[in-house]
């Protein structure tokens, strides 16, 4: 990185799953955000319930953030595996907090990947150090990292006195670690205490205990501050902001849209959204509220939602990976029957079961082509938490206006992140429900041929006459027809809706532009990788970023109109094959000159992207450049 000054501060916490890492990251992020700062965090965890490693990166800055960093300035750890996995990643000059405990040989860490163990052992051997966490700490020190051993045990013993004994306070160890880091960074104590209260809301005794731990740790941190450590001292508070993740934003968007029924089958990471909805079905709403139902499988989920949508309710389902594969047939039915159905798809590592808890953007072309036969659908992809809310809300309008299934794509990086955003303003939104048949006499048949392809939609129990629909090809009246001419007209009618949608959707909802509109170096992307590019703009003013938000129908004309002839196109994607690049080639006259890809199923950071973009700018880029980090 060539401009260290404006880099966001990067904090990392790691530990075994089930030990509270997620909650502690939230605690720290809240404390920072409370102090007026902006946050972006990323989460990494294994497909496991308890025991395997997980970690959280929290970036903090005075300006909006959209990307994490791969080299933390400060690492909070409690046990050996975290030290082993992250000691070499800590930025030189940074701080590493670890338990004041004897070193552990790498061979004793049962969940350390063999490849990583070898990698670390080799590094250690090269430095003539033993293959243990002690060796790694020493290696970190040699790189200028301040390693502080924290006497968690002693502190817990002190806390135990006032709070019901050693066992009762055991979990506050996390708070201690976070608080030490807060103290080191000069984060205001009151923000930390507020964050503790928020994080354990509803449990006064737990709050008290953890606030005591927070004070203790914070004082210790203040006392121990290594020279040169970054400061996150009090800043101006900013009102009207939220700190949340992508799946929460989607759930909120759906609630605002008037979600009537969400069916789902549990799957990581999608089910976090449904779990959130389930916990909040009773939220004050003018009247009614959504049903959220866990059903027997994804086949049931998609078709139940379609059944509900047929009656006029706003219905959705949410899934990931294999779930979408199973929904393929139902998607086609909704397309054929012109049913407004929203499918929220959280991409995760594929193929097959893949890497269920890691991020990936490998499902784009599948989402566009899923289902046998040809039928219209919309595919949207959100780039950050703001988009996630907006897109979730709009997806229903699109679905009802154009009477088709809408696939709303997110990726695991976006679901698992935490981001500060301006408070959502649903009241500014104007819901559109599309053309409904309101005639008491069902004069217009369900699938009437119209100029824009959209027919007035009757509802069962509504004013019109009964109607028919079928997944078999049908006439205007919804009854089966194998007539060749009807077939042609019906294919044309359905296809016309996509043209109608392409005309009706404002260009701002199709693509978002960032950076200098004159810049020759143009990065194209979609989904959460947008964040890394937006962050990169701060360091690379000669860059322009275009995020495709509507992937299908692909906004080819709008995009081409924005690309000067001499633009140097770089596609940035979290996948192996460059799926946006493929779309670009298929749908426009342009080709990407460079493909920047990452398929370790860890998200792309601005930090990793910058040198690559600089190389491209300087004519040193390869056509295909893969971002790799062996320590993620």
């Amino acid at each position: 990185m060539n401009a260290p000054a404006p880099l966001p501060f990067a904090w990392r916490i790691g530990g075994p799953q089930g030990s509270g890492v997620l909650r502690m990251a939230l605690l720290f992020a809240r404390a920072c955000a409370r102090g007026g700062r902006e946050i972006y965090s990323r989460r990494e965890y294994h497909s496991n319930i308890v025991g395997r490693h997980s970690y959280f990166d929290v970036s903090v800055a005075g300006r909006p953030l959209f990307s994490h960093r791969e080299t933390p300035d400060l690492l909070v750890s409690f046990e050996a595996e975290t030290v082993a996995r992250h000691a070499l990643a800590v930025a030189s000059g940074g701080v590493l907090l670890h338990a004041d405990e004897p070193g552990v040989p790498l061979s004793a860490l049962r969940f350390l990947d063999p490849r990583l163990r070898e990698h670390l052992s080799a590094e250690l051997a090269a430095g003539d150090l033993p293959p243990s966490t002690d060796g790694l700490l020493e290696l970190a020190r040699r790189r200028g990292v301040h390693c502080l051993a924290l006497p968690y045990g002693d502190w817990l013993a002190r806390l135990a006195a006032g709070h019901g004994g050693r066992k009762a306070v055991a979990k506050t160890v996390n708070t201690l670690g976070v608080a030490v880091s807060a103290g080191l960074l000069d984060l205001p104590l009151e923000d930390l205490l507020w964050a503790v209260a928020q994080t354990f809301a509803g449990k006064p005794a737990v709050i008290e205990m953890n606030q005591d731990a927070a004070r203790l740790g914070w004082e210790a941190g203040r006392a121990d501050r290594p020279a040169g450590t970054a400061k996150l001292s009090a800043a101006k508070r900013k009102e009207g902001r939220l700190l949340l993740g992508g799946h929460e934003a989607v759930a909120l968007g759906k609630l605002a849209a008037g979600l009537g029924l969400q069916t789902y089958y549990p799957i990581s990471p999608a089910s976090d959204e449904s779990a959130f909805l389930e916990a909040h079905t009773r939220l004050p709403r003018s009247e009614g509220g959504p049903l959220v139902l866990q059903v027997e499988d994804e086949l049931a989920a998609v078709n139940m939602a379609a059944g509900g949508a047929l009656t006029g309710a706003r219905c959705a389902t949410a899934t990931s990976g294999p779930g979408l594969s199973l929904m393929t047939e139902g998607l086609g039915w909704a397309g054929m029957n012109e049913v407004p159905l929203v499918i929220t798809h959280y991409q995760r590592g594929g193929p097959s079961t893949g890497l269920p808890t890691r991020t990936d953007q490998g499902d784009l072309l599948f989402a566009i082509h899923a289902g046998h036969g040809e039928f219209p659908r919309l595919v949207l992809a959100s780039g950050d938490v703001n988009d996630a809310f907006d897109d979730a809300l709009r997806a229903f309008d699109h679905a009802e206006r154009f009477q088709l299934p809408v696939l709303h794509l997110l990726d695991r990086a976006l679901t698992g992140c935490l981001q500060t955003v301006p408070r959502f303003r649903p009241a500014r939104h104007r819901i559109e429900r599309g053309r409904l048949a309101t005639d008491a006499v069902g004069a217009v048949p369900r699938f009437a041929f119209t100029a824009d392809g959209i027919s007035p939609r009757p509802l069962p129990g509504g004013p019109g006459a009964p109607f028919w629909t079928t997944g078999v090809e049908h006439g205007e009246d919804g009854r089966v027809s194998e007539d060749p001419v009807i077939r042609e007209k019906m294919m044309e009618k359905r296809a016309r809706k996509l043209e109608t949608a392409a005309r009706a959707i404002p260009v701002a909802d199709k693509l978002a532009e960032f950076g200098d509109p004159q810049a020759r170096l143009v990065a194209l992307t979609w989904g959460s990788t947008t964040g890394a590019l937006r962050e990169a703009l701060h360091f690379l003013p000669e860059l322009r970023v275009i995020q495709i938000r509507l992937l299908w129908p692909f906004p080819a004309a709008e995009l081409e109109a924005r690309l000067p002839d001499d633009a140097l196109l770089v596609v940035v994607e979290n996948n192996y094959s460059g799926q946006l690049a493929e779309l670009l080639a298929a749908r426009t006259s342009r080709r990407a000159a460079h493909w920047v890809l990452k398929y370790s199923d860890r998200p792309i950071s601005a930090e990793a992207l910058l040198p690559v973009l600089e190389a491209i700018r300087d004519g040193r880029g390869e056509p295909r450049m893969v971002l790799r980090n062996p320590l993620e």
Partner: protein, 309 residues
């Protein structure tokens, strides 16, 4: 079910393209009769069809007709009923549709005592795909579409419906239109999940099981009391055992009629209201989502506050 417009005519002008003598004709007539007899309004009835000869039923009815996907008739019907509980929702599908590709939904629908009526057309074959074995065809049987005897054993839809938790279970016969229509009415009136197996001759692919074959075998058990009105486990156990026994009779004598009418198990409504007390009064399909200006009616402010920093 609104009781206006009694005796609406549910017959549609469309010509069925079933084979001559197909049992589906009888079922269609019985269904028309039942719907009309119940005084339902066509607009408020939604008939979902599976895929198969049987699944074409909704084409030929003057009610809302949704022709779904093979094996998915229950999920579609469930979604519609959840979204608009005021509708009378009927699912009609074949034995292949219901117990082969749809068996997962068949079984799991039993976990929700939702007010649906499931008409299960048992012709022991796959009609529309040219006579392969349905999961109800006994092992060793060979129908007109098969190259060899059926290597797989038959499933018993009644036994499975019982164990899955359906709260109304009956069996009817396609050509006995009057009785069948009465059974369908009772199934529709049952306020929970009703399962009606309909013995449906397929003269085209399964000519052995023709009218004569059935007529010799069908009987109505007189001593069977299907009503369950008490939570007494012994009564439930005894009744279940009796239904199991009736289910098992498929060879020499085949009972028809109502096998189970469980008035004790609470409807799914009870469970759903725990999650969403506004249901079913404020149903997803009929509750407005926006005000006159299009602004969302849902109030998410309190929820947003939780994320405020």
């Amino acid at each position: 079910m609104t009781q206006t417009d009694p005796h609406a005519n549910f017959a549609a002008p469309e010509t069925p393209d079933w084979c001559r003598g197909c049992g589906d004709f009888g079922i269609l007539r019985a269904l028309e009769k039942a719907l009309s007899g119940l005084g339902l309004r066509p607009q408020e009835v939604v008939v979902f069809g599976g895929i198969g000869c049987s699944g074409k039923t909704p084409y030929y009815l003057a009610a809302n007709g949704i022709h779904t996907l093979h094996g998915r008739v229950l999920p579609f019907a469930t979604g519609a009923k959840l979204a608009n509980p005021a509708l009378t929702v009927i699912a009609a599908g074949g034995d292949g549709d219901g117990l082969s590709i749809g068996a997962g939904h068949f079984v799991n629908a039993g976990r929700r005592n939702l007010d649906l009526t499931y008409l299960f057309y048992n012709n022991e074959v796959y009609g529309l795909t040219k006579g392969q074995a349905a999961p109800t065809l006994p092992e060793g049987a060979q129908t007109r579409g098969m190259a060899a005897p059926n290597p797989q054993r038959a499933l018993d839809p009644i036994a499975l419906a019982l164990d899955a938790g359906y709260t109304w279970i009956g069996r009817g016969y396609a050509y006995a239109v009057g009785e069948l229509s009465e059974l369908i009415s009772r199934a529709i009136r049952h306020p929970g999940l009703a399962f009606l197996e309909i013995l449906q001759p397929c003269p085209h692919y399964h000519p052995d099981h023709d009218k004569a074959w059935f007529t010799q075998r069908l009987y109505t058990p007189v001593d069977h009391d299907p009503l369950l009105t008490t939570n007494d486990p012994a009564r439930r156990e005894a009744l279940h055992a009796a239904v199991q026994r009736l289910a098992g009779q498929r060879d020499e004598r085949i009972p028809v009629g109502v096998f189970l009418e469980d008035r004790v198990t609470p409807p799914f409504t009870t469970a759903l209201r725990r999650q969403q007390p506004a249901w079913p009064e404020k149903a997803p399909a009929t509750t407005p989502v926006a005000n006159g200006e299009g602004q969302p009616l849902a109030r998410i402010d309190a929820l947003l506050d939780r994320f405020a920093v």
